[in-house]
């Protein structure tokens, strides 16, 4: 792919979805065309979807090496998890 076509990450909220989910990536010369292309490549033009396109270069990811420092504290301390409270019936589905 030529250097003028940067990579874009595509996030889509489906018709009954609550949040945008990362669905993949594509190349496009600019944001507007990335949205158009995302419709063709990832939604097949389903109605009621919302598309976010983000230039891949703008995404900052955590480093796999940081896994322990980022996630370990939560795993080893069960008292951090709100699992010890009996839930009232009215909010069973929370």
């Amino acid at each position: 792919m030529s250097k003028e076509w940067p990579l874009w990450e595509i996030f889509i909220r489906s018709q009954h979805g609550l949040a945008h989910k990362h669905v993949g990536s594509l190349h496009a010369p600019d944001a507007a065309m990335a949205v158009n292309n995302a419709r063709d490549v990832y939604t097949r033009r389903n109605e009621g979807v919302s598309i976010w396109v983000v230039r891949a270069a703008d995404i900052v990811a955590s480093s796999p090496a940081d896994k322990d420092t980022l996630f370990e504290p939560a795993n080893s301390k069960v008292y951090r998890h709100p699992t010890f409270f009996p839930m009232p019936d009215e909010v069973k589905n929370l």
């Binding site: 190349h27 507007a32 158009n36 292309n37 419709r39 063709d40 490549v41 109605e47």
Partner: protein, 250 residues
């Protein structure tokens, strides 16, 4: 043949021939995403073809189905506009053909949603979402190419000039079209042409392209079954299997 059947076949033939042409880009587009988009448009048009044919076959009542209409008619029985059988050429040629067509197709379908024929209105309502997208997409790309590099501008202008004489056939109404207008089935030509010229002019201005003269001589004949030399080849490829194995089920 009944006027309405002829009119429906024209709608179906336009969509089918353009769909067949676009499908030839499969795997050859300038980028993966463009490849997907072109074949998506081809699929949209094929879906519309089936709806028009289905209704035409019903009204005709001669026991023909959509497959027989698509695969067992020869060039002189096809009623698509000449614009759509023009070769794919380069990417600018393909996009300009698409843009001229979409600009008419959108306003036509939009008009047909108010057709006195409820079945036609329903098919148009379904197609409107698709053709709105087609129109937006091809217009966007014409602006990008026209207002792109020196070379892309040159090629896009060349495509615009080259295909111009095929752009007016859709507004040359014959007895069949006029019968549809008087029955409230189809929108009148003048109205569509004004909308078409306004839209194409607007996009061309943004694309820094020169609009060919609106009063230029226009080639026609496709709607009456008089085609250019291109259609026979398109049909030969499209219909080969059905001709070789008539009546085969798939």
């Amino acid at each position: 043949m009944d006027d309405k059947v002829v009119y429906l076949l024209r709608l179906g033939d336009n969509a089918l021939i353009l769909s067949q042409q676009l499908a030839q880009w499969c795997g050859k587009g300038p980028a993966l995403e463009e490849d997907m988009a072109l074949t998506n448009v081809a699929l949209d048009l094929l879906g519309q073809t089936r709806l028009w044919y289905e209704y035409a076959a019903e009204l005709e009542g001669a026991g023909r189905d959509e497959d027989q209409l698509a695969y067992l008619r020869d060039a002189h029985e096809f009623r698509n506009c000449l614009l759509l059988e023009q070769p794919n050429g380069n990417y600018a040629d393909t996009l300009m053909r698409q843009f001229y067509f979409d600009s008419w197709h959108y306003f036509l379908i939009e008009g047909l949603t108010r057709s006195s024929d409820t079945r036609i209105a329903a098919i148009a309502a379904k197609a409107l979402k698709e053709v709105s997208y087609h129109l937006r997409r091809s217009g966007d790309l014409i602006v990008r190419l026209g207002d792109g590099t020196e070379v892309s501008h040159l090629w896009t202008q060349a495509a615009a000039d080259e295909l111009w004489m095929y752009s007016g056939e859709v507004f040359a109404y014959d007895a069949v079209d006029e019968a549809m207008v008087s029955a409230g089935v189809a929108p009148p030509a003048a109205e569509l042409r004004a909308q078409w010229l306004a839209h194409v002019g607007e996009v061309f201005a943004e694309a820094t392209l020169t609009l060919p003269p609106a009063d230029a001589w226009m080639q026609s004949g496709g709607k009456q079954g008089r085609h250019s030399e291109h259609l026979g080849y398109i049909l030969a490829e499209m219909q080969f299997l059905q001709r070789a194995y008539p009546g085969a089920a798939w």
